[in-house]
Point group: C2
Chain length 318, copies 2
């Protein structure tokens, strides 16, 4: 029992006993068994983190932020990959909950009603990340994809483009909200054309960006700018324009989304909407840890915002 105290509440043990125990631990190479601890306490120090994709740069940045915040703490990350499938997400939530996690980090706010029911019955703390919205399950860290897409669209219009299009792959809920933002602003500006909205359910890639751009030009050759749902597509669109001898930014403006590192390095540099992915992961984990340490902590929703990065690919000369 004193050993258990030395490891978990060293202040409650006298300095003498503490040192004796520590010396014995070192000598014997004792390592506590987390399974026994979990069984006795009914909880673990595992934080489950469910992402829809492990290859998408966006989530690897978020993951890196989560790991950063977890570093040096007693909490362990358990990563789950839902592959954009609500059913798989439900299965993962079930598995994770059976392990009595200390907390959960969930991507997005569009959990299925079954998943929501499971989560509401669960006793652990949780954070929804990637976007903000009404009715948080518990805590929330993200930004408004609708507003971000609106701001990017306004940027295109302000830069002098008058027939903007939209390219998107993988129509996940956040993509759909971005498209909504694009429609919203172009409609008000009187330059919305469904012909110039090209989407596909396929997973995003640079190659696909080129294909979508080609498709867009075939369907609506008058297009003079594209808002791409992510940076891979934007880069692919740029390459496609270059192959066709279309001048970027004069004949075609290109704006990405997320502002991956490569956007600034491209030639021309590509405008994009910067999102704070690593910060999102770090903030979520920090909030979760704070809530676990102090259950009275107020439940927060944090909006990390976004930033339109205007660069060469939309710098049209009048």
């Amino acid at each position: 029992m004193t050993v258990s105290r030395v490891l978990r509440e060293p202040d409650k043990v006298s300095a003498k006993a503490r040192e004796k125990v520590r010396a014995a631990i070192d000598k014997l190479g004792y390592v506590p068994d987390p399974a026994a601890s979990a069984l006795a306490t009914g909880r673990t120090n595992v934080i489950g983190f469910i992402v829809p994709s492990v290859t998408n740069n966006v989530f690897s940045d978020v993951l890196s932020g989560v790991y950063k915040a977890a570093e040096g703490t007693e909490w362990q990350i358990q990563l789950g990959n839902s592959r954009y499938s609500p059913l798989e997400e439900e299965r993962l939530v079930r598995t994770f909950l059976s392990q009595r996690p200390a907390g959960l980090i969930l991507s997005g706010i569009d959990q299925s009603s079954e998943t929501l029911a499971l989560l509401k019955r669960a006793s652990c703390r949780m954070v929804q990340i990637m976007e903000t919205g009404p009715d948080p399950l518990d805590m929330m860290v993200g930004f408004s994809h609708l507003d971000a897409a609106r701001a990017a669209t306004r940027h295109l219009i302000e830069a002098g483009y008058v027939r903007p299009g939209f390219l998107a792959a993988r129509l996940d809920p956040r993509t759909q909200r971005r498209l909504e933002g694009f429609r919203d602003v172009t409609r008000r500006a009187g330059c919305l054309s469904d012909e110039r909205i090209v989407t596909t359910p396929k997973p995003s890639s640079v190659t696909l960006g080129g294909l979508l751009m080609a498709d867009l030009l075939a369907r609506a050759p008058e297009t003079d700018a594209v808002l791409c749902n992510n940076d891979d597509l934007a880069l692919g669109a740029l390459f496609e324009c270059q192959r066709r001898g279309i001048d970027v930014p004069q004949a075609m403006g290109i704006c990405g989304f997320n502002d991956l590192e490569m956007m600034a390095a491209a030639n021309p540099s590509i405008s994009s909407v910067r999102t704070f992915r690593q910060e999102m992961g770090k903030t979520a984990m920090d909030m979760l840890i704070a809530a676990l340490r102090n259950p009275d902590n107020p439940v927060e929703t944090v909006d990390l915002g976004y930033q339109v990065m205007a660069r060469g690919s939309t710098a049209r000369q009048a």
Copy 2:
């Protein structure tokens, strides 16, 4: 006990009892407690996977392969991020081993001697991935980075380039072996120049590729080709050449490493050494599962090879 059997060895229970138990499980919503099982059996169904980086595309592809192979099995992945630090890797191995994992997947073959000592004492099965080499701890899946770099260098020379350089960031052990391959082939061909080898310990990025290219051109303006240690650097190098008006592939050949999807989509398309990252993760996990199911399985070392993808960026016209 019969319940436990129904869940783990259903064949040993009569069909009648089995159905009765299953009905009760459904009715009561019973979910087994993995911690109690771990305590009773002394093992878990967790497979630890330690990667040096979660943001590097290479490892997210491998991770995706590992998840693919784990899908639908009873095994859980526990991901650890060593951030290229041998000390952190040692700490992670310690933590993972304390959880009595069923297996471990380790990146690379350069574990510290302390880590190796821990691993040799451990009783679980393990796979080293990313490269092949002598003295495997147990199983191994990878390829020869030395040979791959040699082949890429030969490709540059055969394409007609005579003063090739080498760009590398983050000098991890695999990078160093690739550099070795480059030196080896250029030395034999009589075109090795240390002036044309530009490296930095900084983490790799597209921006850095541009900076390294600029550095190389300042130090060795005669350079007519670069082998880049990875595709980010290659893309950055291409952009830098375009900004300077250097013709790729006529005045400068560029070859990357890994063959990320974007390489084929670039303009010009960029030559690269294809590596089988997702297959590597999947194979490692498949081998581990097979070894866990059948401990008599022979211990294997699998070489997945590589493939030089010759594209526009090295298609010099005579």
